[in-house]
């Protein structure tokens, strides 16, 4: 018997509900709240049992609309690359500042998605981010932390 990915996801949801219940039991409620009709544990406990019930129901019931996916046509390489670039961007944003990190994130994302029109790639990264920063920082007065621009005296 072959089990479908949909059912495996449901099983994973069952495991998640069990772990959620385990975490719920570890919530420290105040002693006077322990036997109250409702405390911080009540709602999560309902949710974990409901989650377990629904996932088991899905696993046990016969499958009608099986999801068919052709993995050969899925572009895992570019998707993973984009996720990795986003993670690197998140690492850099506080260290090198908003302007440089965002501009580089946009520039490299365009590049990895196959874009080679260099002028457009540049315009839609560095000047675009500068304009966006002006809109937020200059007009809406939303402060964007940027050590580099601070050193250069562009922002206060």
């Amino acid at each position: 018997m072959r089990i479908s990915i949909d059912k495996i996801i449901s099983l994973l949801f069952f495991v998640l509900s069990v772990l959620y219940l385990q975490q719920t039991k570890q919530i420290q409620v105040f002693s006077f709240d322990e036997n109250a009709p409702f405390n911080a544990k009540t709602f999560p406990t309902f949710l974990s049992y409901l989650g377990m019930f629904l996932s088991i129901l899905y696993v046990l019931l016969p499958e009608k609309n099986l999801t068919k996916i052709n993995h050969k046509v899925l572009d895992y390489k570019n998707t993973s690359l984009l996720i990795i670039i986003a993670i690197i961007y998140a690492f850099l944003i506080l260290k090198v500042g908003f302007f440089i990190s965002t501009s580089l994130f946009l520039f490299f994302s365009y590049y990895f998605l196959g874009e080679r029109r260099w002028i457009w790639m540049f315009v839609l990264s560095f000047p675009f981010v500068a304009l966006f920063m002006f809109l937020l920082h200059g007009l809406l007065d939303i402060y964007l932390r940027d050590p580099l621009l601070k050193i250069l005296g562009i922002i206060g």
């Binding site: 949909d6 409620v29 129901l57 944003i93 457009w120």
Partner: protein, 497 residues
């Protein structure tokens, strides 16, 4: 009352106040279009500016910003599937597929007309029914709210893609689980934070929306980029289409608008319910009203499916002013910010507001209507330009969607933990979407999670731990009966299949 209306008209029609409405609508639309910056942020940004004005003028400016931001939120929902505000999540269900079919202009025009109609009808309701409706809204108790939320969640699960009820219900539970992360609202006990300070305040709504809609949509487009079945979809992304509606589309809109306006307004009146529940319920209700052929088009670019939530969310915006102005209870997060502004002006909203400050009460109501007209005049000619966002090549559009999503989150917290969390949720959401696990039920559950727990807590405490509250009040029992009918219908349908 006539005297009050005339005072209101006089105040609202002064050149200064008309200019304020226009400015508010314009800035609201721009800010609402930026994912992550919704009406709440837009109004909050306006508060320091309004303190220099008279209270009526300040409130008129904020009302304009509110409507503009809701419309702007619809624009980003339709064009890039990135609803910046909870009230426009349901707009994306049919608005985005319509845009993908090359009818972006039409979708935006439908959104503009529906917003106008919904807002206008409910402004008229507000004018005549505000005092009496405030009494009705007061009669809703915690068990009724709890039952209403259960109904909303069940309805949205039932109306998601065909045969996916159980999957949708699992997503509801997941959304509710995510909503429990952070400090418990009553006891302040932290839950599911794993001693991480960044999770103490819970997960932000914008983060969840950005991750499950905008970012996961962008990743899905890349993932399915080589899929030949998606080729036509990609091509149509560059087609803007006409903004002119044909006779059939106008007919469909005329049918949907009145019922969605009434529903939206009534839901908006209930404190705490707001535009989100209104738009989801209107979407579900509309699906039940249309014939079988139209029903199949839902989720694939249905005119009814776009008109209903768009009408309802704007109608609910007007409705949410009823509890704010007559009871001093904000009907939504946005009106809560406005309540803060009113208190800042030294005005205490409540039943006596329209006796002590009639110019404020009535001018805000009148300016709502003027705001609707301004919004339509301002936005319709701009639609072809706004819709050009879709003409951006995929190689540029995807990174820009990611940029707006990540920046939206970064602007809220200025830490990178939220960005990592968003990327993680987006990856999981992309995988789940691949296997047809619907995201809208998760979003609605996440929005309602806190309120649902709060109302269940109150109900159980009042009934001393007994579940009798579910059938003690006729209103609660009726709402729950509707929920049971929906669930039974789903079970019947699956057995029939």
């Amino acid at each position: 009352m006539i005297e009050g209306i005339l005072i209101g008209l006089q105040t609202a029609l002064s050149i200064k106040n008309i200019l304020m409405v226009m400015m508010g609508c314009f800035f609201g639309t721009i800010i609402g279009m930026l994912p992550g910056l919704g009406p709440m942020t837009a109004i909050a940004l306006m508060i320091p500016i309004t303190y220099g004005f008279e209270p009526a003028t300040g409130l008129i400016l904020m009302a304009g910003v509110y409507y503009g931001a809701v419309f702007g939120g619809s624009t980003s929902s339709i064009l890039i599937n990135a609803p910046g505000v909870p009230g426009t999540v349901a707009t994306a269900f049919d608005g985005y597929p319509m845009a993908q079919k090359g009818k972006a202009g039409k979708a935006l025009a439908i959104a503009a007309y529906s917003s106008f109609a919904g807002g206008t009808i409910s402004a008229i309701f507000l004018l005549f029914a505000a005092p009496s409706l405030s009494k009705i809204s007061l009669s809703f108790r915690s068990p009724d709210y709890f039952a209403l939320m259960v109904l909303g969640l069940t309805a949205v699960s039932a109306f998601s893609s065909k045969g996916q009820f159980l999957k949708a219900m699992m997503m509801v539970i997941l959304g509710l689980m995510l909503a429990t992360v952070g400090q418990d609202s009553l006891s302040d006990i932290t839950r599911f934070t794993f001693n991480n300070m960044n999770l103490t305040d819970g997960i932000s709504f914008v983060l969840i929306v950005m991750a499950t809609f905008a970012m996961s949509e962008a990743l899905t487009i890349i993932l399915k980029g080589k899929d030949p079945s998606r080729a036509t979809e990609q091509i149509s992304l560059s087609e803007l289409g006409s903004i002119k509606l044909d006779k059939d589309e106008r007919k469909k809109m005329i049918k949907s608008i009145p019922r969605s306006s009434v529903l939206g307004f009534l839901i908006g009146v209930l404190p705490g319910a707001g535009a989100t529940i209104a738009s989801f319920l209107a979407y579900g209700m509309e699906r039940n009203f249309v014939n079988e052929e139209e029903k199949q088009k839902f989720g694939k670019g249905s005119v009814h499916g776009l008109t209903a939530p768009e009408t309802a969310n704007n109608a609910a915006c007007s409705g949410s002013f009823v509890p704010l102005l007559t009871l001093g209870i904000p009907g939504s997060g946005t009106t809560a910010v406005m309540l803060g502004a009113l208190l800042g002006f030294g005005i205490q909203p409540g039943p006596r507001l329209y006796m002590t400050n009639p110019e404020i009460f009535w001018s805000v109501i009148m300016s709502m209507y003027i705001g609707m007209v301004v919004l339509l005049i301002l936005n319709l000619p701009l639609i072809p330009y706004i819709a050009r966002v879709l003409a951006t090549p995929k190689n540029f559009l995807i990174p820009l969607i990611l940029f707006f999503s990540i920046t939206g989150i970064y602007l809220m917290s200025f830490n990178n933990f939220d960005i990592f969390l968003m990327i993680g949720i987006a990856v999981v959401a992309t995988f789940l979407r691949l296997y047809n696990f619907p995201m809208p039920p998760l979003i609605l559950a996440f929005v309602l999670g806190g309120l649902m727990e709060e109302n269940l807590r109150r109900s159980l405490l009042i009934s001393d731990g007994s579940f009798n509250f579910l059938w003690d009040r006729p209103l609660t029992a009726i709402i729950l009966a509707l929920t049971i009918i929906i669930v039974s219908w789903q079970i019947y349908k699956s057995f029939k299949n």
